[in-house]
Amino acid sequence: MRRLAELEAAIDSLPGENDAVQQAEALLKVSEEVVEHWIMGRGDTPTDETREGFRLLALHRQGAKGDPSFNACRETCREIAYHYNLVTMQPEHGETMHRLDMMKMICNHLYLFISGKMQVAELGEFCCSSKPIRLAPEARKQTRKEA
């Protein structure tokens, strides 16, 4: 698996010389690897299953288990899958290069979101939808009692 910095460079290098379908496949692969980093960082083994035909969506689902804040990139993953379909099912379409450009931006967002979460230790716990994992149950009860 490529390092996060290599994945960033891979995103930056597109669009390249390859045809549109190959580039869309490359972006989808990068996206999967980004989510794999998150899953492995949490001590799990990335799934090989697919969801709605995409491993990326199955990986996202796996990554969100126990961390609701990770759902903030759910639609980002779905948009990557959607743009992949647009490019690969209609590679001759007049908008294909624009669609690839947009797919690259969405992929970059996924990279930034996940690498940001990984750079700061336990960053997710400060996210709006997350559960407070820092406090032990006893401390939580104490806080309410004081209130």
């Binding site: 948009e79 979101f113 750079q119 996210c127």
Partner: protein
């Protein structure tokens, strides 16, 4: 009573942000309500919803804080709808509603704290919490709005940015994804619908619910700047002149990091950032000052003048 009639007079919960950095959202929401003949009655002596900070210390305490706002609306003002324009407030009130309907421990804690504070305990189902988008969409609708437009937004290309809290987590928004006419959690469209009714051209924007890094603005500003820069660039690439917002945290984040990206990364993205209520207000014939355009950090006045709105 129909939803349309029910939403004509609602309890208004501006929340802390709309009295600070999001003041122009407060001003424009009130101005649009007035222009549309809708009645906003501010919740008396409202408190913070618990935002992110309290939730991270004690989520049950956050549930109580949100429940107090709903309790005042229901028990002291006899209102059955609370409208919260801020995504954070809207999210937290909806979450409190869900927890009080499904979690006995939350009910017990809220009851205990309400008694200690000396007000009636909020009971699940007493009020309906809605967003400003629901409020205008369901009380006036696209047709009603189109009839009232005085300055069409025609010629303005808009990327509608909903942020991450308006639709997440899905289980606290049972009214969304509920068939024709309801809001979608994966591809929200209420803001698109309203602005299109006012004449704007919405662009296909794939990051409409993507995270802006708002929660990390202070703890990790560089990540927030990069996330925002990517959103701004994507909106521009999608062909937008303007990003329309409906959350004060997202709005402020986009504005501040647009400037920070220029200063720290040397990257300028020429795109305007306006609250959807500001755009609707101007479409309804209100002057930019009346909807607080001068209070925004990003200066869009020359653009609005060029488009015949100022």
């Amino acid at each position: 009573m129909t939803t349309k009639d029910k939403y004509k007079k609602v309890a208004y919960y501006p929340g802390c942000a709309l009295e600070g950095t999001g003041h122009s959202y407060n001003r424009s929401t009130k101005a649009v309500g007035k222009a549309l003949g809708l009645d906003l009655v501010e919740v008396k002596n409202w408190n913070c919803c618990g935002a992110m900070e309290v939730k991270n210390v004690d989520p049950k305490l956050q549930t109580y804080l949100s429940s107090r706002v709903m309790s005042i609306a229901a028990n002291e003002m006899d209102m059955d709808v609370v409208m919260a324009p801020c995504n954070g407030c809207y999210h937290n009130l909806k979450k409190a509603e869900y927890d009080l309907a499904n979690d006995k421990e939350s009910v017990d804690v809220v009851d205990k704290l309400s008694k200690k504070a000396g007000h009636k305990t909020y009971e699940s189902g007493q009020v309906e919490t809605i967003h400003a988008l629901d409020w205008i969409k369901d009380s006036i609708g696209e047709d009603g709005l189109a009839e009232r437009v005085k300055n069409s937004l025609s010629g303005i290309k808009i990327a509608n940015y909903y942020g991450c809290m308006y639709t997440r987590p899905r289980h606290i928004f049972p009214e969304k994804d509920a068939g024709p006419g309801s809001e979608s959690t994966s591809k929200p469209h209420f803001m698109d619908d309203l602005l299109a009714a006012a004449g704007a051209e919405n662009v296909d924007f794939p990051l409409k619910t993507a995270c802006c890094g708002g929660a990390h603005t202070l703890s990790d500003s560089d990540t927030s700047t990069k996330l925002v820069l990517n959103i701004l660039k994507t909106a521009k690439m999608a062909g937008a002149d303007v990003i329309a917002t409906e959350c004060p945290t997202c709005h402020t984040g986009l504005e501040m990091h647009q400037i920070r990206a220029e200063k720290t990364l040397g990257v300028t993205v020429d795109i305007k950032i306006l609250y959807f209520t500001q755009l609707l207000g101007m479409a309804l014939g209100l002057k930019p000052k009346k909807v607080g355009v001068h209070e925004n950090i990003s200066d869009s006045r020359s653009f609005l003048k060029e488009k015949g709105l100022a």
